[in-house]
Symmetry: C2
Subunit: 606 residues, 2 copies
C-alpha cells in the first residue's frame, strides 16, 4: 500500500458538540402546551405520571447520546455491504438497537399485558425525536419493527400476533413494510406482486418490491415483511390488494425458527443519505416457494397497511423535524462560539470581531430554523396526542378526524421546512458547514428522503385537499378551525398577542375561502383543476397550522411560570414567523383559487 | 479479500441520459434576446461572427459531453487523495482540462495578441455553462487559472505577465485565489498573512490560507497563487491588504521552472460535493522562505482582487445555473419517460398509467425549475454582455454601473434558486432521485457550495443594499430601472403581455419604495436596521430582475420567427413565474421596510 492520507486532520476550529434536544423546549411543549399529564386521567394511561414520562425522556436522551449519536458519521462513511450473501452493518448499529430494545422503547406504547410500557404515543414520539436527532439511520430498524407489530396487533389473528408480533415486542424479530415496486413507485393501484392460495390456507407469493428499508440484515432472529400483493383473480386496482405476512425465516407452530423462506435480497440501494439504514430491492418466490399468510380479509390490504402507513407518516415528519432540530442547535451553538466580522456600522478593524450570532442575517437564519422546527415539533406532538385521545370515548371521533387531516401536513410540511432548516444550518457554518468534518451537511442528506418516502409530498397534498378537507362534508377542517379559534380567542385577550391573533384570524378566513373554492370545483366535477395546485394549498394550510401552534406557544409562555428569556424567545420566534412566513398564505391561496399555469402547461412546450 | 459487492447493479429502469443544454434556449438567449451578433460591431470583436460563436459553442458542447460528463460521478466517488506528498486526481480530470486548454477555452476571451480567441465574455460564459453542467468539479481548475491570468493582465508588470500569466494562457500553469484564513472566513479585514520586503524588491510571505480550490495538484507545470497579505507595519483592516504572486515553483528570468517555493499543502477539505475539485488548506513560509512578488501598489490588494472576485462571482452564478439546467433537463426527460399513476379523476386501474409529466404537480416542479434556471441564465448572460460592452466607450460607464449592481444578484439569487431547482429535480425522480445511480442528487451536493463561496449570499445582500444600491446616489438602480422600463413599455404594446407588464410595473414601484426607505434609513445613520433584512431585499430585487428577464424573453419569443411550441413554452413559463413567484416581492419589501424581528432578537432568547 502506498501512503494514503484520506482524512487529513485539519481545521477543527470548533468545539461545538452535537445536541439532540433543547430540554426547556421539549418539556415546555409536552407539559405546558400539550398537557401530557392530562393524559394520565385516562384509564389507559393511569399507571403513568410526569415522573414516568420524565424517566422515559431522560433514558432516551442518555441512550441516544451514548449509543446512537457516536456512530452517526461512521454509518454515513460505512454503508451496509453485501458480503458473503449477508448484509453487513457496522456493529455499533446492533449495539444501539439492542440498547433501544432493552430499555423498552420498541414496545413503549404497546399494552402492558403484551410486555409494553403502555406509554402515551405523544411521549414515545418525543423520545423518538431524540433517537432520530442522534442517528436517523439506526433508529429506522426498531421503529419499522414497531410499526409491523402495531399493525399485527390490530389486524392479525391471535396466532399471528403470538408468532410474529410478540417476538418483535420482545426485541427478537424485526420488520418491514413492502409496498412499492420498481415499475410503480407511488402508484399502488399498479402493483403486480401475486399471491396464490394453497391447500393449507397459506399463500405462495411472487414478485419484487423496491425501496424496502431494513429489508435484510442480521440484527435479529427474523424479519417479518408485510407485503401488499394481489391474490390470483383479484379485482384490478387498489380494491384488489391484500396484505401478507412474509417471514424471512418460516416460524414453526411452537415459535422456533424454521427454514429460510423464499425471499431474496436482489440489491442494495445506494443513497444520498441515511446510509446506515439499509435499503433493499427484494424478490419474493424466485424459487416458487415463498410462504405467506394473509392478514385479515382478502382485498382489504390497503386499508390495513394505511394503519401502519399513517403511523409511519407521522414518523417521517418526526424524523425530519429531528434532523431540523439537530441542525438548528448545532448552528446556534456554532454561531455563538465563532467570531467573525463586525456590524455594518463598525468599520474599525482594531475592534474585536463579533460572534456570528450578532449579525442580523445569521439571527434570521437561526430564527427561521427555530420557527420551522419547533413549530413543526409541537404540531407533530399535538398530532401524536390525538392518537392517545382515542383511548377516551368522548374524544375518539373528533381526534380521529383531526388526525386524518393533520397527518399529511405533519408529514409534508415538516419534511419540506425541516429540510429548509438544514440548508440554513449549513449556511450559518459557511465553508465549514460544507465539509464532512461537521455534522450539518449529513443532516441535510439524511433528511432529503423525508419529502419523498411514505408517499411523496405531492401525494400528501392530493390526499389533504382531495380527500381529507372534503371528507364528511368538511368536518375535519371545521374541527381544526374550531381548535384554532379557541387559541385566537385566548390570545386576543392578551395585549401582546392581540395583533397576531387578528392576523391569524384573517389567514384562517383566507384558507377557508380557498378550501371552499376547491371543494366547489371538485363538487362540480372539475377535479383536475381543483387539485392542480394542491401543493400550494398544503403549504398554505401548513403555515396556518404552524402560526396557530406558535400563537399557542407564545400565549402559554407568557402566562407560565417560566424563565423570562425563554418566554421572550418563544414570543420573538412567533413574531418572526408571523412577519416573515404567514403572509405567504394569501399568495398561495390566490394560486389555489385562480392560477392554472401548471394545469395548462403542455409537454410539448417544455 | 472477502466477496464484497458494493455497487450492486439494480433498478436502472431509466434510459434517460445526461443533457447539459437545451440548444434552442441557448441560441434564443444569445442571439434573439441578447443580440450576440451586435457585439461584432465593436472593433474589439470585429473578427467574430455568429459562425465563430456557434463554432465555439459546438466545440464546447462536444468536449463537455465527451471529456467532462463521463467522469462526473467517478470524480464524486474518487476524491483527491494525498499520496506520497502529492495530490492524486483521477486521470480523466487531466485529460478533460487538457482538451479544454487545447481547444482554446482557457484563453477564449483573452486578446488575440496574447494567443487568445478575443471572444465576447458573453459567449465564453455560455460555453462555460456547458462545461460546468457536464462537470462542475473539473472545470474549476482552468476557470480559476483564467481568473488569475485576467487579473495579472490588468495589474501585473509586463515581466509578471510574461512570467506568470502567459504560461496560464498557454495552458501550462494553473492558478488560485487565496483570500480566506481559518480564523477569518468572510472577514478579510482580519486576515493575518504577513509579507516582508526583501532587499531585492521581492517579499517573503508567512501565514495560512483556507478553502483554496485547486491549491495543489499535478495538472500543470506550476500553480500561481494570488495571495492577500499584510506588509509589515501596514494599516489595520482592509486598507492594509496587499496582493502577491506566490508561485508553487519559483520561475527563473528565462521562464524555466526553478526550485519549489515554500508553500505547503497542510490538508485537504472533504466536502459534501464538488469532490473532483481539490480544496486545500495551505501554509506559506513554514520554513521562512516563501518567495512572493507584489502586484501593483502596496495596500491596494483588495481592489485588485475584486477584479478577479467579481469575475468569479459571475462564475459562481453561472456554475450554479449549470447544475440547475442539468437537473431540470434530466428530470424533464425522466418525467416524460416514466409512467406512473393516473389523473385524480381517472380511477380505472385498467387504463394505462400516465407519464409523470402529465401530473400537474410534476409540471409545477418542472416549470419552477425552468423559470429559475433559464431566467437566471439569461440574466447571467446579460451581465456577461455588460463586460463586453465596456469595449464600447459610449456604453462603458453605464455598463460598469449595471454590472456592479447585478453581480451580487447573479451570484446570490442564481445560487439560491438553482439549488431549489436541484431539490425539485430530486423530487421529480422520487426514490430514484435519492440514489447515487442517478445524477440529480450529485447536482444538489455540487451546487450547495455556491451560496457559500466567493462571499456568502448574506454578504452579497449587504453588498447589494449597503453599497451598490446607494452608490453614486442610486445611479446603478436607476440605470437598471430604466432598462426594465424599456421592456415594460415594449411588452405593454402586446395584448398577451399587457397584464404582465403592468404587474411588473407595480413590482418595480414596490422595490423602489423599499430601496428608498433603506437608503433614507442609512442616510439617517440607522445602518444596522436598514441592512438587517438585506437578504429579503436581495430576493425581492432578484425576483424583479428575473420577472423582467422573463417578460423580455416572452415578448421576443412571441415576435421572433421561431418554433410555436418553443414560444408558447417561454410565454407559459413567464406566466408561471409572474403568478407563483413575483407576488412575493410585496411580502419581502414589507419585511425590508417594517420588520425588525431578526434585528431585535437577542442571543439569550434562543
Amino acid at each position: 500500500m502506498i501512503g494514503v492520507c484520506h482524512f487529513s486532520p485539519i481545521a477543527m476550529t470548533s468545539s461545538v458538540s452535537v445536541r439532540i434536544n433543547d430540554a426547556r423546549h421539549l418539556r415546555f411543549a409536552l407539559y405546558d402546551v400539550l398537557d401530557a399529564e392530562g393524559l394520565t386521567a385516562l384509564p389507559h394511561f393511569s399507571m403513568h405520571s410526569r415522573d414516568t414520562f420524565d424517566a422515559a425522556l431522560d433514558l432516551a436522551q442518555r441512550i441516544a447520546l451514548e449509543k446512537f449519536a457516536p456512530h452517526n458519521r461512521k454509518s454515513d462513511l460505512n454503508e451496509p455491504l453485501f458480503v458473503d450473501g449477508k448484509v453487513a452493518l457496522i456493529p455499533e448499529i446492533g449495539d444501539a438497537v439492542a440498547a433501544y430494545n432493552e430499555a423498552g422503547f420498541t414496545a413503549a406504547s404497546i399494552d402492558a399485558q403484551r410486555g409494553g410500557m403502555q406509554m402515551p404515543f405523544m411521549v414515545t414520539t418525543a423520545c423518538d425525536t431524540l433517537f432520530a436527532a442522534a442517528n436517523a439511520g439506526t433508529v429506522a430498524y426498531p421503529s419499522l419493527a414497531r410499526g409491523v407489530a402495531n399493525l399485527l396487533l390490530s389486524y392479525g389473528t391471535p396466532t399471528q400476533i403470538e408468532r410474529y408480533a410478540q417476538p418483535i415486542i420482545d426485541g427478537r424479530f424485526f420488520g418491514t413494510m413492502c409496498l412499492s415496486e420498481p415499475q410503480a413507485g407511488s402508484s399502488l393501484a399498479d402493483i403486480r406482486c401475486r399471491a396464490e392460495l394453497q391447500a393449507d390456507g397459506s399463500y405462495r407469493l411472487s414478485g419484487a418490491k423496491m425501496w424496502i428499508s431494513a429489508g435484510d440484515h442480521e440484527l435479529g432472529e427474523n424479519i417479518i415483511h408485510l407485503v401488499l400483493a394481489r391474490i390470483v383473480d383479484a379485482p384490478l386496482g387498489v380494491r384488489g390488494i391484500s396484505l401478507f405476512i412474509v417471514p424471512r425465516f418460516r416460524v414453526d407452530p411452537d415459535g422456533t425458527r424454521a427454514a429460510r423462506n423464499d425471499v431474496q435480497l436482489a440489491g442494495l440501494n445506494h443513497k444520498m443519505g441515511q446510509r446506515g439504514s439499509v435499503n433493499t430491492f427484494l424478490k419474493f418466490g424466485e424459487n416458487g416457494d415463498c410462504y405467506a399468510e394473509l392478514v385479515g380479509q382478502p382485498h382489504q390490504g390497503l386499508g390495513y397497511m394505511f394503519h401502519m402507513m399513517n403511523e409511519e407518516r407521522i414518523g417521517v415528519g418526526v424524523g425530519a423535524i429531528s434532523q431540523g432540530i439537530a441542525g438548528y442547535l448545532y448552528s446556534l451553538d456554532y454561531a455563538r462560539e465563532r467570531r467573525q466580522g463586525r456590524h455594518p456600522d463598525q468599520k474599525d478593524p482594531a475592534t474585536m470581531p463579533i460572534a456570528l450570532i450578532e449579525h442580523a442575517d445569521v439571527r434570521r437564519m437561526l430564527l427561521a430554523q427555530r420557527a420551522y422546527v419547533e413549530g413543526a415539533h409541537v404540531l407533530a406532538l399535538y398530532s401524536a396526542r390525538l392518537v392517545d385521545q382515542m383511548h377516551d370515548p368522548l374524544q375518539r371521533d373528533r381526534s380521529a378526524l383531526l388526525l386524518e387531516l393533520l397527518t399529511p401536513i405533519v408529514k409534508a410540511w415538516s419534511s419540506d421546512y425541516s429540510l429548509r432548516a438544514n440548508e440554513m444550518a449549513i449556511q450559518v457554518l459557511g465553508g465549514y458547514g460544507y465539509t464532512r468534518d461537521y455534522p450539518v451537511e449529513q443532516y441535510y442528506r439524511d433528511n432529503r428522503i423525508n419529502p419523498i418516502h411514505e408517499g411523496t409530498n405531492g401525494i400528501q397534498a392530493l390526499d389533504l385537499l382531495g380527500r381529507k378537507v372534503t371528507m364528511q362534508n368538511g368536518a375535519a377542517l371545521r374541527a381544526l378551525i374550531d381548535e384554532i379559534n379557541l387559541d385566537i380567542d385566548a390570545a386576543r385577550a392578551l395585549e401582546e398577542l392581540k395583533e397576531l391573533a387578528d392576523q391569524l384570524g384573517l389567514a384562517r378566513d383566507e384558507i377557508l375561502r380557498a378550501s371552499q373554492h376547491a371543494a366547489q370545483r371538485m363538487g362540480a366535477g372539475d377535479v383536475r383543476a381543483a387539485l392542480a395546485n394542491a401543493s400550494f394549498y398544503l403549504q398554505a394550510l401548513g403555515h396556518v397550522c404552524i402560526a396557530w401552534i406558535w400563537l399557542k406557544q407564545a400565549r402559554i409562555a407568557l402566562g407560565a411560570d417560566i424563565d423570562a428569556d425563554f418566554a421572550a424567545g418563544k414570543l420573538a420566534t412567533c413574531r418572526f414567523f408571523f412577519a416573515t412566513e404567514l403572509p405567504q398564505v394569501w399568495h398561495w391561496c390566490k394560486i389555489v383559487v385562480s392560477d392554472d399555469s401548471a394545469l395548462t402547461m403542455r409537454d410539448g412546450w417544455f
